[in-house]
């Protein structure tokens, strides 16, 4: 079927990517990152970043309000758990649907402007959603205490087939409980599907159209294309990705709070995408993994660990080095993140992927066979 066909290169990338994702518990072990909670986050935020990249990387529209869709996805999924069933599939489907509708409305309004105005419009809508979730919409969002499962939830479908169990239920897939490693593998499978779909979008004529919007929207409209429906489709797709990621967050931990919609959360996905490489397929995934790794590992460092790490430094300097570097880890890991981000934007606007490409080009120039060209990453523009 043509729908599922990929070019040979894309199929190879997908196969490699699948291998990397599936073996994640193995290769993360040396970094101390092989516990399920963190790997679930790796998969989930990779989906979020891939989706954001479909909008920003392909069309060049910089949205500063994508966390709103993540939040909507989470809320929808938790409501699906509360009202219908603990099965994950309906929750994911509903979340994608609702966040897609939400993105349709916001995108329709925001895409009437471009450039910085678009960024500010999306930011305004996201802040509106965040403020409303905290105040008036408390019956739906449960405000500051965040939405969570209770013992009195109706869960119509589940309770039609079985008795109410003891304690709070956990999310499941056809009766298999999704927690720990099984939760991770569920997220990983969803990630692979999302990655495959992104590959299809990148390779399709529709993807070409989006790239055209990025490089010169005016020329596109002079050639007779109405660009807005295409941009809107990209916006809705990326909103759906964000909703899917939000729903997966709810699957792994059935709790949805408004702080997921705050604009710093939107900023985070922008950071992930830029750090990895805008407009590339793999880049956003790497950015997401790197940032989540920083967040979980670096933020748990303390002076004791640092002191042992800097054991080789001679005594008079030792305390100073530890004191200075302790400002960059633990509570202060965001400082490291901010600095890294500034450096990337200044020196390497294409992110990690551009760095990889530059290093690759360096090696090719030294007379290695031209075969290496097959590994070339798709250019951003």
């Amino acid at each position: 079927m043509a729908l599922f066909q990929l070019s040979r290169r894309d199929a190879l990338i997908l196969a490699l990517f699948a291998l990397v994702v599936v073996t994640m518990p193995v290769w993360t072990a040396p970094f101390g990152a092989n516990y399920p909670g963190l790997m679930q986050k790796f998969a989930i935020y990779a989906i979020f970043a891939i989706g954001f990249n479909i909008l920003f990387g392909l069309t060049g529209y910089l949205s500063f309000g994508h966390a709103a869709f993540l939040g909507v996805g989470s809320y929808t999924a938790v409501w699906s758990f509360k009202l219908l069933t603990m099965d994950a599939l309906p929750a994911l489907l509903l979340a994608v649907l609702v966040s897609g509708l939400f993105a349709l409305v916001i995108g329709f309004l925001s895409l009437r402007r471009s450039g910085i105005y678009f960024s500010i419009l999306t930011l305004a809508f996201a802040q509106m959603s965040y403020n409303l979730a905290y105040s008036v919409l408390t019956p739906i969002t449960n405000g500051e205490t965040s939405l969570q499962l209770t013992m009195q939830d109706p869960r119509v479908i589940d309770l039609a087939f079985s008795e109410r169990g003891v304690g709070l239920p956990t999310a499941s897939l056809f009766g298999v409980t999704l927690s720990g490693l099984s939760g991770f593998y569920f997220c990983a499978v969803v990630l692979l599907i999302a990655f495959f779909f992104a590959q299809k979008v990148f390779a399709s004529p529709f993807g070409m159209m989006l790239r055209g919007i990025k490089s010169n929207q005016m020329r596109m409209s002079y050639t007779g294309f109405n660009t807005r429906p295409y941009a809107l489709t990209a916006f809705v797709i990326s909103g759906m990705y964000a909703g899917l990621a939000g729903a997966l967050l709810a699957v792994t931990d059935p709790l949805a709070g408004a702080e997921r919609m705050q604009w710093t959360a939107s900023g985070e996905v922008v950071l992930m995408t830029i750090l990895g490489g805008v407009g590339t397929l793999i880049g956003p995934v790497m950015g997401a993994w790197l940032i989540k790794y920083f967040e979980n590992i670096f933020s748990s460092f303390n002076e004791g660990i640092l002191s042992r790490f800097f054991d080789f430094v001679p005594e008079p300097l030792h305390d100073t080095v530890v004191a200075i570097s302790s400002k960059f880890v633990g509570e202060g890991w965001q400082l490291t993140l901010g600095l890294l981000f500034v450096f990337v934007v200044v020196f390497l606007p294409g992110g990690i992927m551009e760095g990889v490409r530059r290093i690759g080009a360096l090696f090719r120039r030294r007379g290695s066979p031209p075969k290496a060209d097959a590994m070339r990453v798709q250019p951003a523009e």
Partner: protein
């Protein structure tokens, strides 16, 4: 009538802060063409100038006085602020008035910060797309706020206003209402007057000095001014410093109203951008007018009568206004025709 006047006044001090930040944002955008997401961080830095100033002048010497004892029978520790030992009673006055006095610290510090920021980082981004300018200044804002967090800690540090300026003033009596009908906190009134003064000073500077004239000419046509043999880049750098000072002053004087915390810059930044957009990108009078307008709108929206008609309106009124303005009149209230209209 009184209630409406009271809400009008309530909006003025917040509007003043919005107007000052938006004024700086617009100055930077109009001169350098840079969208500065780190401008809120400058507001926050200004607030922490006040914190540092107070910290410096309240440094104490501790001497143990064996002749006096505490209730527990130990020797009493006498703490004397250095300022007091040096200046006597004047020291106490100095500490009492630390917030307004820290303006003296804030002006040179913010000017320096602004110039360093422009020369060190933002200079390299004039030719890059707006998206990259947003990204790099956003990164810078994170760095600045994390540095402040590392130094001052994550908790808000409240600053006392001078004792003479505490309490309320009877504004109603001034404009002929019955005494006591309309009272208003004195410091908020001062904040409004202060922001109006700063705004007037900035406009006068641009309007009545040769430097300001050159800058205005440069905003209109940078290339021609450069061809006339004027080093316009250097003047624009100074304007960036000035914008930083304006944001910093707004931050200093706002500290008694809102205890400074490291993330307040981000909170105000989002709102100030909305203000700039409503006023019209690149229009200085627009930024000021929209600042006060949105401040007042927000205080009206938080009236109980209005909240009972449209619940939650106080949370979203500013964003809603921005969305409506952008969709209906994209150049903003005072924007020039064709200025970033699509």
């Amino acid at each position: 009538m009184d209630a409406i006047l009271a809400q009008l006044l309530n909006g003025l001090d917040k509007g003043g802060a919005y107007a000052l930040i938006a004024l700086g944002l617009t100055l930077v955008f109009g001169t350098l063409g840079v969208v500065n997401f780190a401008h809120g961080a400058l507001f926050m830095l200004g607030a922490f100038c006040a914190v540092s100033f107070r910290y410096l002048i309240t440094l104490e010497t501790v001497t143990v006085d064996p002749t006096q004892t505490t209730a527990w029978g130990t020797a009493l520790e006498v703490r004397t602020p250095l300022a007091q030992t040096w200046f006597g009673d004047w020291g106490a006055v100095l500490i009492d008035w630390s917030v307004p006095l820290s303006i003296l610290l804030a002006i040179p510090v913010m000017l320096l910060v602004g110039i360093v920021m422009e020369r060190g980082l933002i200079k390299h981004f004039y030719k890059r797309p707006h998206a990259e300018q947003i990204l790099v200044t956003f990164g810078l804002a994170i760095v600045l706020q994390e540095i402040v967090k590392a130094i001052f800690g994550p908790n808000p540090i409240s600053q006392a206003m001078p004792s003479a300026l505490r309490g309320a003033t009877d504004v109603g009596a001034l404009i002929g209402l019955a005494p006591g009908a309309l009272t208003y906190p004195l410091w908020r009134l001062i904040y409004f007057l202060f922001s109006a003064g700063v705004i007037a000073a900035v406009f006068a500077f641009l309007r009545f000095t040769t430097f300001g004239m050159v800058v205005r000419a440069g905003m209109a046509d940078r290339e021609t001014v450069g061809l006339l043999g004027i080093n316009i880049d250097r003047r624009f750098t100074i304007m960036f410093g000035l914008a930083a000072v304006v944001a910093g002053l707004a931050g200093v004087m706002y500290t008694p109203l809102l205890p400074p915390n490291y993330h307040q810059g981000m909170d105000f930044l989002v709102l100030s951008f909305v203000v700039v957009v409503v006023g019209g990108m690149g229009s200085l009078p627009g930024a000021v007018a929209a600042g006060f307008l949105l401040g007042i709108l927000q205080s009206f929206a938080s009236m109980n009568q209005i909240k009972s008609i449209i619940p939650g309106i106080d949370q979203i009124i500013i964003y809603l206004t921005a969305v409506v303005i952008l969709l209906v009149r994209p150049r903003g209230l005072f924007g020039r025709r064709g200025m970033m209209e699509n």
